[in-house]
Symmetry: C2
Subunit: 134 residues, 2 copies
């Protein structure tokens, strides 16, 4: 269906929220989840992935939470997707596992032509930053 996952949506909503206050401001997962009616546990997972990807920083313990680690204008949506879903937005699975991974092997005739579409898609998601969704 060619859709963004809920996780990515939640992640973008959270990042947008964070990007609207000065960098370094700390938000808790609960706070973010309540504000937008997102399932708390799931959002927590998403935020943890964003931490591992270096998008945000985390502080544990009381008074802990998450804060932006990158400036929103330097944070492309494509990067957020890759970190959360562990994959780029792909038109066909041919391109997920490197070259020559097509399940049709020699018979796949649309692989190359779709490559162009793929590149254009990448540009689209690379260009748009978190800053732009504010």
């Amino acid at each position: 269906m060619l859709q963004l996952s809920k996780k990515v949506e939640y992640g973008l909503i959270a990042l947008r929220h964070m990007a609207m206050k000065p960098i370094g401001h700390v938000f808790t997962a609960k706070e973010l989840a309540n504000e937008y009616d997102m399932p708390y546990e799931l959002l927590a997972k998403v935020l943890q992935k964003l931490v591992k990807g270096g998008v945000i920083r985390s502080l544990q313990g009381v008074k802990g939470g998450y804060s932006l680690a990158k400036r929103p204008e330097e944070l492309p949506v494509s990067f957020v997707i890759r970190v959360i879903d562990e994959s780029k937005p792909m038109v066909t699975e041919c391109y997920t596992d490197g070259p020559d991974s097509c399940y049709l092997f020699g018979n796949c005739t649309i692989r190359r032509p779709l490559g162009k579409l793929q590149r254009n898609l990448n540009v689209l998601f690379d260009k748009m930053t978190v800053q732009e969704i504010i």
Copy 2:
């Protein structure tokens, strides 16, 4: 995961194959399925949808089969997707059921910004035609 469905892939492969011979040429589903190792029954379903969508024509009975109903250069990939999957390539489900269908209602803050991405995506899939995947 933002991927094209197998059905669409099969459809594009079949359409590309048909587009390489002069228009009006008749191909059977079995013929197409064998050529590219696609599951016959599934491809048949796809071809039937393409018939209903006016993309190809069908002839029943012996010596029957399918033939292109449109010139490949006038057949955008977006149209093929819509016919087969019964939906446009959507970035978020917000846009599938008209306006104000967001599951977050008033709290969804990324709906509008992603609209831009959506439009760019539409342009991409509208521009590319079956002719271009040959």
